[in-house]
Assembly symmetry: C2
Homo-oligomer: 188 residues x 2
């Protein structure tokens, strides 16, 4: 806030736009995110975005690209994966949302144009590394199931009203079940 007049710095502005776009596209669907919204976040005219990134499509792709490869998910001990991730999903959804790439993918399901763009990036950027990290027999299948499961939990939470709306006991029960399933998928 109160940043004063934006200093003339193309590089900084560019990344500021990219950051804002990433955040917006992770929070709303492709169609619901307007160029003017992003521009307002940055404190810039919408026209500038078009000039820097060419088009909304290209901005979207750039934002998706800038998310990294989801390596946050793969940090830490494999033996602890189930416990760690299940805890984040159930008790710290905000933290789990740090996987911006997954959020963006999720928001794009359904929107024909966005889904098409995601498909290309998705395999190389997300499924690939995950599959490699999991390793072992049938890594392809297990990675696919894992990714699907994680996204499904996001969908379920979202449609449940932003919360799982469970009692503490139920939440813990859910976490334990999640832990088992996830860990089984990791260990083969």
């Amino acid at each position: 806030m109160c940043t004063g007049p934006r200093p003339r710095n193309a590089a900084a502005t560019r990344t500021a736009i990219l950051d804002a776009a990433r955040e917006r596209f992770a929070a709303d669907s492709y169609d619901d995110v307007g160029m003017r919204d992003i521009a307002r976040d940055v404190g810039v005219d919408a026209a500038l975005i078009s000039r820097y990134f060419g088009s909304k499509d290209e901005l979207f792709l750039a934002a998706l690209d800038s998310c990294g490869d989801g390596s946050q998910l793969m940090q830490g001990d494999k033996a602890d994966f189930g416990r760690r991730v299940s805890h984040e999903i159930v008790y710290e959804p905000k933290k789990a949302e740090k996987l911006k790439a997954m959020s963006i993918m999720l928001r794009s399901v359904g929107s024909a144009r966005a889904a098409e763009m995601v498909q290309n990036t998705c395999a190389a950027r997300f499924f690939g590394p995950l599959e490699e990290w999991i390793g072992g027999e049938n890594a392809v299948v297990r990675a696919r199931l894992l990714a699907g499961f994680l996204m499904g939990m996001s969908v379920s939470r979202e449609l449940g009203g932003g919360q799982f709306s469970l009692t503490p006991d139920e939440a813990e029960e859910m976490r334990q079940r999640l832990e088992v399933i996830l860990q089984n998928l990791i260990e083969g």
Copy 2:
């Protein structure tokens, strides 16, 4: 095609609109479905839809309502659930899509307005019956996990390019793993 002039039948036209809307909303996101698209499907002017259903929002809700309660999922033997559903998911995705309600929900994740509308209907129409059918201890949690898992698989397939793009062996491996997970959730 070539249906000639539409006979003057309000009731029939109304349900025709509802059918077309259900199909459209199950195939594309709320934003991507236009009133004129639905109207064209039915062979009617878009204005008529507004007059019959009031607004796009109300049409969407009516379409969602008309999907039933997902009871197709719960038909058949419980002991066979895992095998049956895993088979549909992996080998007959088109058939699995018959769960229009789930498709619509899925397409709506992300679109702020649609998601809000879905949230209210969702719990009563889908999670509720599923939870009741599953029964037993912690039915709430197990139903939630099950629904999340099913939707996640849809997302995963969609983002994988409309296919799982696996070898036959991998597909079967996936089906078997799915079967185990699903059946475990059903049986408690």
